[in-house]
Structures are given as structure tokens and as C-alpha cells.
Point group: C2
Chain length 658, copies 2
């Protein structure tokens, strides 16, 4: 690699030129950050980052996360210049246009070299913590020869001000993730203007308080950047490097101001940048000597990859590791037996406990499963004999005590899943899905297998009252695209839902589980019926006039209602719908065959908001639910208070039938 | 007040006894925190807190927030013992039972002395920041004689670990809210066990880094507690006092362990507590000498109240201040004129700009309005000529630069509204409502007037792509109980929605506003039609066969669709539905009169998830929307790509009509 400061400056200017020209062509975007961090990124890419453009999926590559995702042109420029197949120069030319992989914010599902989708501030860094956790964990399991890489982050002031930053760095400091290094674009500018407008924080002191090593450098001085990175690499703690930069560096009239943050510089200023930097190449053209220096950064990585390949082959365990990294599930030897046993024993059990029982089998069979809870282990029932605690002294542990950090947990889970080699699951109360929601969404967008275990899923939690009782949460989660929301009705359905969560490798799942005991409602384990999303649990015996559609704890209630109706000679089906999303993916014939029919009254029963249920019950149906905040009282009294009893429901059905 | 340590210890033991006995009687609850913090709370209540049990609404009272809301028995005991009318001993006896005001977590709408609903961790402290902001702001506007009080918080490890804590203390430190004092229950225990399991943070150093003063004390030593509080009161910065306590203090076998956190102690241990503490009174009985000492704490406050009353009467401005504290709106002198002008001028304008125009009039007319943005001021259009920036040097400013702290902003807004005297509004992008969602929910539960200005409300924001494009957000917000979600269609509707947000004093509102320009669709300002939630904007001229129901930016699209249909001789109504919640509150006759009719095809059009629209369109209707993540491209191309054009919609309607 070149150490020549003049050549490195030219490499950085190539990044600046591509960034400002692409934003100008798109007539939208964020030139300030890429121009400000171009020098730092060039040093990182040239001398430190371990990557192979020929194989973006090389398991032992360093992970690089552009947490300040609005500066997306930085990573597009870096990937293109260093020799990745994507993005091409045409992609960059079409930055922010329909069909270009160069989206406004970097998307992991569009560009293989993009490790994580970023833009929602703070989450990139928080996902990087998860990647660093996965790295240390796999290192502990597979050894240095297979897993030995760093996690790098470029973050801005926004990433550091967001609350999730506190959670993320607290976890990283506690777990002593010394191979994680954050390069902070310390430009003292936010969208509204100077950072002085809204913050007086001593960032370095805060990171130090969280157990981090902190260094600083002039972000435009190559030697200073190297020195700071060397210091960080040598330190055993996670590191923050405050890179003092000028936003929009190179734009003589605008640099150092928020005007460069989120708008094109304009043709006149761009001409002045070219003059200032001595950059004579036209837009989207890179002089061959600069291009060659950039390509050399990728060559270095190819050599490292080849060395790793030889070493990892010699180390053994290579096939197992490769399968883990591909996300393959092992054979679940005891699984069919477990389900058959459940079907036979018909336990009366809370589904959170049923989840623990399923997990006990699964965590033994699937070593990739790494669990955890946001300080509700005993309530979420997420810990099993196979999952001992992970700590800075024992990264081989498979259970993360995430602390009271729901959002940080969910973001870390996304990062672990993105890293690969582990399948993360983590628990909290369903009501606190609101806290982790931004990461649940970003996991769905990124198509990762993160499994959210959400217990205490209704007023059934009882006395803790409305702050802790989810009401609107099931509906609000079902509306997130590409997320599977599962609400099993008993121990067997819980096992089936866990199986589905594992099988759905390219989307997150969320299991909503009860605190309270539930009777068994399904007694046949031959087929995973939850896979269809909804199924006929118990058909009408009399002439069918009613369909009862219920989820989770209300399936047993639907069976009670059915019994009462049939006692009056009114035939009623009971349909269990553990996962509306999977049901909507079934063939139309299955869907219309299951729900509907002339003159049949459709009734939904769920201890949550009725919002959205009309898509199954129609305007003439009946939606039994709770469209207000809950209350504090023992669970049984609350179900009565809110009309979730057969006594309260049957008369409403009779009235509808007329 | 008594300074006798023995008598103070007995007062604290009264809190311990009530807490453990109430939890035992309820067979659920959290005795550990109240028992651990009983000594600190007794000192605070006896010597420092300014309150008058006879008037829980006294405007100049100190605000006390139990951020660790699970320890609700602490505040119930304190309020009862010090002489508030609520809770009564019977309420306490019925702790966590249906109908008791002593809910599992303290609810501001049940007990007048409870300043804020707490339980979702971190938010109590973050709301207290808003209260402290409101106090300094009103002090700057009305002077020391009317407003001169402190804000006190009791917080636990959970409150400090949550991400929102970082945002809250950053804002408080930046604004130098020196009259805010946090008493941290530093018991080193979380639900999962020792705090060592999940955190290694130096909390004191972190608070110092955020500009806070930090003190520490033995939380069971009255003199040490006093000394630390004296130090905090004297300091000009916000203060954190680390009160080193033993969780469950007094329970000989269980204290200091997580077993006391969230379960009854059990009859045997409770007997041992009585023995250990020398507490001989039966459950729910307080010895008269102890009761008298407690009542005296309230008497002190009554005297302070009387002094304040005399002083505030003399100061003038009393009537204006009282009206402000009652939340009354002044006459909006120019408002009708503004709306009439808009109706006449028919501007083509983004609704975010329309919001700015409305706010320019309203912030001038309503001095209680205090605005802000989470660092998107220029994008949210939330700043007006009347709202200059608030800072530590000028608390009279009416605009808070919240920084990149969406959740902290929304929580602070709740606190400001709870404090009274100000009407907070704050801006971010609609997609980031996910970040502030836990506070939006808690605002709805608490019935406060906080106004969330959420711009960039659809794919219409264009190039920033799916991370920034709300899709599921409107539906997910509509399902929150007691929240008004408003999506105005043009400049006039935006003005009407702002008017409604101000008029709805007991619930929060959220305005979803466009980035892109919209044509005017309403030309008559005589009546606030948005107040009905939905209304017939333009009736069919031909024989009506279709109803088009749209919101916000899609109302203009619905008018295009209408024109195309009527051109083909198919009559179609266009219904604008700016607020589904208000529509659902209209009389049934209005609702069924507006939407429905034999053989009429109902079509919803909204650039977001279709989830929930079936409640208006039925199973036979048509729902035009976006049920996937968005993409990065110019807005017009995205509307075409996702089928939100008349060209794409009209054929679907024709096909449905057959």
C-alpha cells in the first residue's frame, strides 16, 4: 500500500469528487459527510480494513458499518474504487434513482459489500456491537484460525446523540469488545447548525465511563489518523476515535457549515472544489494512477483471504463453520419426538414456559442459537441449560445478559444475524416492543433472522396495569412488512412457531407469549399446522352459522364460546390463527376455503385492538377485543372486565345472528 | 419538622410496612424498591419537597416523579401518610385490585398527587426534564414570585440503563436545569441479579460528562442523605445523587437480593421484618405518633403555599398565569381571517409548509406554545418568528433545539404538558415516530396535550429511500388508544387540524405532513370540517357507484381518479378523512350517512399500509396503498412505481365494477 501522503490525498479526493458529483447529478443527497471523512476512510481502507473485493462474503473479513448512513456515497465510492463488482460507475451515476443499487441510504440487500442498512441514526453502531459479539463468540467456538477480525464503524454526531448509543456502548464496554473501533466524524455540525445548539456533552468522558478507550486525531492528517488507529488497535478495550474533521472538506465557501450536510453543493461550488483540490478529472472519471492505488487496497485483502483459506483448511472444523456461516440448520433429532410428547401430554402451561421447553430442545440441537433477555430472564423464560452466560471472560457462552436495553438488544441481534454464524433470540415484555421497534423494523428491511421473544402479551399479565399491558402492539407489529408475528395458543403451537421462526432464514419473527397458563388445544403433532398461518382447529358439529377466529390465549376462549353456541344448536368453527402473515401467503383457495361462506357470521377474538381484524371478518362480522388502555387487577378479573369471557361474547353473537 | 433520627426512622419504617403489607395482600408487586428508598424518601418529604396535600394542583409545588414506577407503593405510602386525600388506606389495602386508584404502576389520571404515569423505564426521568424545562421557562416569563420550584426524581438502575436516559440527561445538562435533582436508588441489583451481569459503567462519570453535578450518600444514613441533597440544592447544575441502598432493606433474609424486587416477601419474612424493625403495628395501621410526624410534613407545605399565594397576588400577572396553568386557549384573533385567506388564495404548498404558516399565526396568538425539533428544524418547519431558541442563557425562548433525541423530545414534551402552563409541540420525520413511540403512547395514557409534528409522511419524501419512508406508521399510530392521528390534505385542512390539536386538551395529537407540494382541495373555511374526522369533499355528479376515501396527499389523487371515472360516466364521491379517530366518534347517523350505501364500491387511497382500511371499505372494497417497504427514487417515480396514480387506480376500480 502506498504510504505517500500526496497519493493518499488524491485517493481521498477521488472519494470527494464521486460524492459531490453523484449528489449533484441526483439533485439530492449528503455530500458533507463523505467529503469530511474521505481522508479517514482512505487510511482505513488502505492500511487497516481486512476485505476482499472478490468475495464480499468471506467469513473472516473485517466488518465495516457506515452508521452515518446518509453519507452513503462514501461507502459506494469506497466499494467501487477498491474493486468490488458492485456498485459500478453506472450505479453511482444513477445514485438515488429508481433501480440503482446506490440507494439514498446504503441497503445490505442491494449491495453485497454493504454489511448493514443504515440511516436510522444510532442503529449502525448498535448493530456493529452485535457483529463484534458474534465475532468473539465464534472465535471462542472455532478459534483464531477461522475467526479473527475487527468491526469498524464510521459514526456521526447523530449516532452518538441517539439513546441507543448509550445502550450499545454500555454493552460493548461491559463485554470488553476490544476489536471494535468507532471512527467518530467529529465535525461539530448537525442539521440545525452547530452542535452547541443542542449538546454540551464531553463525549470522550462518556465513552471512557462506559469502559471504552478514547483517542483523537486531526481527521485530515494521515499520520495522525494512523497513529490514533494504531493506538486503538493496540488497546484491549473497544475504541472511539474522535476524528476532528471539517464537514464538506474541500468546498471553499461551504465547508464547515450545515449547508453541505444534506444538499448538493451546486455547480459553481463544485467547480471551486475541483480548483481547490486540484482535481481536474470530469465527473465520474478517475485518473488511472489514482484508480490503480485504490485497486491495490483490494489486492492486499485478496492475499489475506488466501492466507486465511489455507489456514482455515488446516484447522479442521471448516465444514461445520461454513455451514454455520451459511445459516444452515442441523437435523433436529429430538424435535419430532418432543412435539409428539407435547401432543400426548397436553400440558396446561403458559406459552412463555412452553417457549422455554421448546428452546431447551432447540438450543441443544442448534449451536448457532444465542439467546438473551433485556433483564427479564426469569419472566421471558429465555435461558436454557445449553445457554450459559456470555461474558468478557467467556465469549463461548450462549446467553447475553443484555441489561435494561431493549432497543440495544434488538439492534445487536440484527448485527449478530448480519454477521452470520449465530441465530440470535432475545426477550422482553411485548409492551416494550415499542422500545425495540426501530430495530425490529430495520431487521425486517434487512431480511435477517432475528427472533424476538415477547412475553406478557396481553391484559393477561394482570396487576402491572396499563403501562405494561400491550393492547395495540399485535396490530402495530403485524403492519410491519416482512415480519412474522406469531401468537401460539398452546405448548404444541409454541413449538411449531419456534420451528417456523428458525426455518424463516430471511426475515425476523416475533413470538407473542402469555404469562398465564393456557390449556392444550391441539393434540396432533403430525403436521406443523402453524405453517399455514391459520387452520381449522375444531369444526362445527351442528349446522355451521358462525366462525370463531382467535389467536394465542383466546383460542381456548373461542372453544368455550363454541361449546356454548353448539349447546344452543348453533354450529361454530374454531379457527386458530397463530400467524396472519403466513396465512396471507397461502393460496387463495386455502384462504377462502378456511374463512368465509354464505351467511356465516365471522367473529374474531383477541385480547388486543380490533384494528385490522375486519380484513378477515368484514363489515358484517364481530370483532371482540380491547380498544382502550388496560387496567391494574388480577388477570381473570380483567378478562371479565373487558368482556373476554364466553358469558360476554355469546350474547353478542346471538344478537348478531338475530 | 422533626430532625430526630429515631422518629425519622420510624417514619421510614411506616413506608416499609405499608409497602410490604400491600404487596403481600395483593400477592403481587414490588416491595424491594420502596423498602430500599424509604429513608431517602422520608428525608426528601420531611425537609425538602415543597408540596401541599390540600392542593395537589398548586402551580408552584415541587414536582416529584417516581421514575422507577414499579415501586409504586412508595408514592402511595408517601401521599397517604403526608395527608393527601388520595390514596386512602382502603385504596392501599386494595393495591392492584380492580377499581383501586393504587394501580400496579402509579397513574397520573387516578391519583392527583401522582405527577406522571411511570413504569416504562427511563421515561419518568425524561418527563421530569420536561417539567424542569417548563419551570424555568415559566419562571422566565412570570418571575420568581409565581414560579420557583424544583423537580425531584427517584430513579433506579433500569431508568439509568435505558437509552432515553442518555437523551434526557444530555438535554438537561445542556440547558443547565439546576433545579432538577435525581435520587438514584443505587442498589446494584436488577431483575436478573447483580448489575455486574450487564453493566460496568461508571454512572457518576457519565453524568458528569453530560454536565451534571454528582453526589453520593449512604441511602440509609439520614445525615448523609441531607448533606448530599444540600450539596445538590446548592449546585447550579442538575444533580444526580447516588443513594447507596440495600434493596428490600429491613427484610433480614432477602434484603440485598433480586428476590425482593418483584414478588411479595411472604408471611414469614414479613414477620421477621416487623421483628427486625421493631414495627409492632398490624398491617395497614400506623401508630399515632408516627402518623403525626408524617402529617406534619404536609403542614409545612401548607404554610409555604399560603406564603406563595400572598406573594403571587401581589406580583400581578396572576390571572394570566392561572389561565395558562389551567391550559386555557386565548382568543385566536387572526385565526378566522387566516383560514379565510387560505381558502381564497388556494396555495399549492407542502403541508409541512402549511403547518409552518398556521404555526406562525398560532405561536403569536398562543404564548403557551413551546416548539422544537429533533434536529430537523428546516425540514419539519417548526420554527416561527415568535419562537426564538431557548437556552441556558435565555429560558424565555420558546423553541427547544432538542438535538437528535426523538424519544427524549417526546418524553420531555409529555413532562412539559404535565407540568402545565405550556403546550409543547415538536417535530421529526414520521418514520422516526418509531423512536418516540413509547413516549407517544405514554402521553396518550396520561391524557396530555402534546403535539407531534411528523413530516415526510410517505414515499413522497423520495430519494432517501425505505429507511426514511414511513409505510406502516399511520396504521401503527392509529391503533394507539386516545391518540389523534391527523393527515391533512392541503393548507386549509392543515390549519383546521392544528386548531383541533390545540382544542383537544386531554389527548395528544400527531400531524402527518408532506414534504412535497400539494394542490388546494378545499375552498370554504366557514366550518372546521376536519373536526368531523371525515367529510364529503366533492360529491359524485353522475349516478354514484363509487366512494373514494383518501387522506393527506392522496386526496388530490382521489380527485383525479374521480374526474377520470366521471369522464366515463361513473359517479364517484371523494371523501377526505383527515382523522379516522374523530370520525369514529361521530354519531352513527353521520358515519353511515357519509360512508356506505347499497352497491357502492368503497375505495381507500393512502400512500401507506392498507392494514385497517377494511373497517371502512369492507371485504368487497378496494384498498389502494403500499404493503411493502419503499424504495429510493424521486417521489413522482415512486408514486408511479407503487401504483398511486389515477392511471393505475382507475382500471382496478373498473375491474371491480365489472
Amino acid at each position: 500500500m502506498t504510504q505517500d501522503p500526496v497519493r493518499l490525498a488524491a485517493m481521498a479526493n477521488a472519494v470527494r469528487a464521486l460524492s459531490m458529483d453523484a449528489v449533484q447529478a441526483a439533485n439530492s443527497g449528503h455530500p458533507g459527510m463523505p467529503m469530511g471523512m474521505a481522508d479517514v476512510a482512505t487510511v482505513l481502507w488502505s492500511d487497516y480494513l481486512k476485505f476482499d473485493p472478490a468475495d464480499p462474503a468471506w467469513p473472516d473479513r473485517d466488518r465495516f458499518v457506515l452508521s452515518a448512513g446518509h453519507g452513503s456515497m462514501l461507502i459506494y465510492a469506497l466499494l467501487h474504487l477498491s474493486g468490488y463488482a458492485q456498485p459500478t460507475m453506472d450505479d453511482i451515476r444513477n445514485f438515488r434513482q429508481l433501480g440503482s443499487v446506490c440507494a439514498g441510504h446504503p441497503e445490505n440487500f442491494l449491495v453485497p459489500g454493504v454489511e448493514a442498512t443504515t440511516g436510522p441514526l444510532g442503529q449502525g453502531l448498535a448493530m456493529a456491537v452485535g457483529m463484534a459479539v458474534a465475532e468473539r463468540h465464534l472465535n471462542a467456538q472455532f478459534g483464531d484460525d477461522l475467526v479473527d477480525h475487527r468491526t469498524w464503524v464510521i459514526a456521526g454526531d447523530g449516532c452518538l446523540m441517539e439513546g441507543v448509543n448509550h445502550e450499545a456502548i454500555g454493552l460493548a464496554g461491559h463485554l470488553k469488545l476490544g476489536r471494535m473501533i468507532v471512527l467518530w466524524d467529529d465535525n461539530r455540525i448537525t442539521i440545525d447548525g452547530s452542535t452547541d445548539l443542542s449538546t454540551s456533552e464531553d463525549v470522550a468522558a462518556r465513552y471512557a465511563a462506559a469502559g471504552w478507550h478514547v483517542a483523537a486525531c486531526n481527521g485530515h492528517d494521515v499520520a495522525a489518523i494512523r497513529s490514533a488507529i494504531d493506538e486503538a488497535v493496540a488497546d484491549h478495550r473497544p475504541s472511539l476515535i474522535a476524528c476532528r474533521t471539517v464537514i464538506g472538506k474541500g468546498a471553499p465557501n461551504l465547508q464547515g457549515t450545515s449547508k453541505t450536510h444534506g444538499s448538493p453543493l451546486g455547480a459553481a461550488e463544485i467547480a471551486l472544489v475541483r480548483e481547490t483540490l486540484g482535481w481536474t478529472a470530469p465527473a465520474f472519471e478517475i485518473p488511472e494512477n489514482v484508480a490503480a492505488d485504490w485497486r491495490a487496497t483490494g489486492t492486499r485483502g485478496g492475499e489475506a483471504h488466501a492466507t486465511w483459506h489455507a489456514r482455515s483448511q488446516a484447522a479442521g472444523k471448516g465444514a461445520e463453520f461454513a455451514a454455520r456461516m451459511r445459516g444452515e440448520l442441523p437435523q433436529l433429532a429430538d424435535w419430532a419426538g418432543y412435539k409428539a410428547q407435547v401432543a400426548a401430554e397436553r400440558p396446561k402451561m403458559a406459552t412463555r414456559k412452553a417457549s422455554e421447553a421448546a428452546l431447551s430442545v432447540l438450543t441443544q440441537a442448534v449451536p448457532a442459537l444465542v439467546g438473551g433477555s433485556a433483564d427479564l430472564t426469569g419472566s421471558n423464560n429465555t435461558k436454557t441449560p445449553s445457554t450459559t452466560s456470555m461474558s468478557a471472560d467467556d465469549y463461548a457462552g450462549r446467553y447475553v445478559n443484555y441489561g435494561i436495553r431493549e432497543f440495544g438488544m434488538a439492534a445487536a441481534m440484527n448485527g449478530m444475524a448480519l454477521h452470520g454464524g449465530v441465530i440470535p433470540y432475545g426477550g422482553t415484555f411485548l409492551v416494550f416492543s415499542d422500545y425495540s421497534r426501530p430495530a425490529i423494523r430495520l431487521g425486517a428491511l434487512q431480511q435477517v433472522r432475528a427472533i424476538h421473544v415477547m412475553t406478557h402479551d396481553s391484559i393477561g399479565l394482570g396487576e402491572d396495569g396499563p403501562t405494561h399491558q400491550p393492547v395495540e402492539h399485535l396490530a402495530s407489529l403485524r403492519v410491519i412488512p416482512d415480519l412474522l408475528v406469531m401468537r401460539p395458543a398452546d405448548t404444541l403451537e409454541t413449538a411449531e412457531c419456534w420451528e417456523l421462526a428458525l426455518q424463516n432464514a430471511d426475515r425476523p419473527s416475533l413470538l407473542a407469549l402469555t404469562r398465564q397458563n393456557l390449556p392444550a388445544v391441539r393434540f396432533d403433532a403430525a403436521e406443523n399446522l402453524c405453517a399455514k398461518g391459520a387452520y381449522l382447529l375444531k369444526p362445527a358439529t351442528a349446522d355451521r352459522r358462525v366462525q370463531l377466529i382467535a389467536t394465542g390465549s383466546e383460542v381456548a376462549l373461542a372453544l368455550e364460546v363454541q361449546a356454548a353456541l353448539e349447546g344452543d344448536g348453533i354450529g361454530a368453527d374454531v379457527i386458530s390463527m397463530p400467524c396472519a402473515e403466513l396465512f396471507m401467503e397461502q393460496p387463495a383457495a386455502y384462504r377462502t376455503g378456511l374463512i368465509g361462506g354464505d351467511g356465516v357470521l365471522r367473529v374474531s377474538i383477541e385480547a388486543g385492538a380490533t384494528f385490522g381484524w375486519e380484513r378477515f371478518t368484514g363489515l358484517d362480522g364481530l370483532n371482540i377485543g380491547i380498544d382502550r388502555f388496560g387496567a391494574s387487577a388480577p388477570a381473570e378479573e380483567l378478562f371479565a372486565r373487558f368482556g373476554l369471557t364466553a358469558e360476554a361474547i355469546v350474547p353478542q353473537i346471538m344478537a348478531k345472528l338475530g
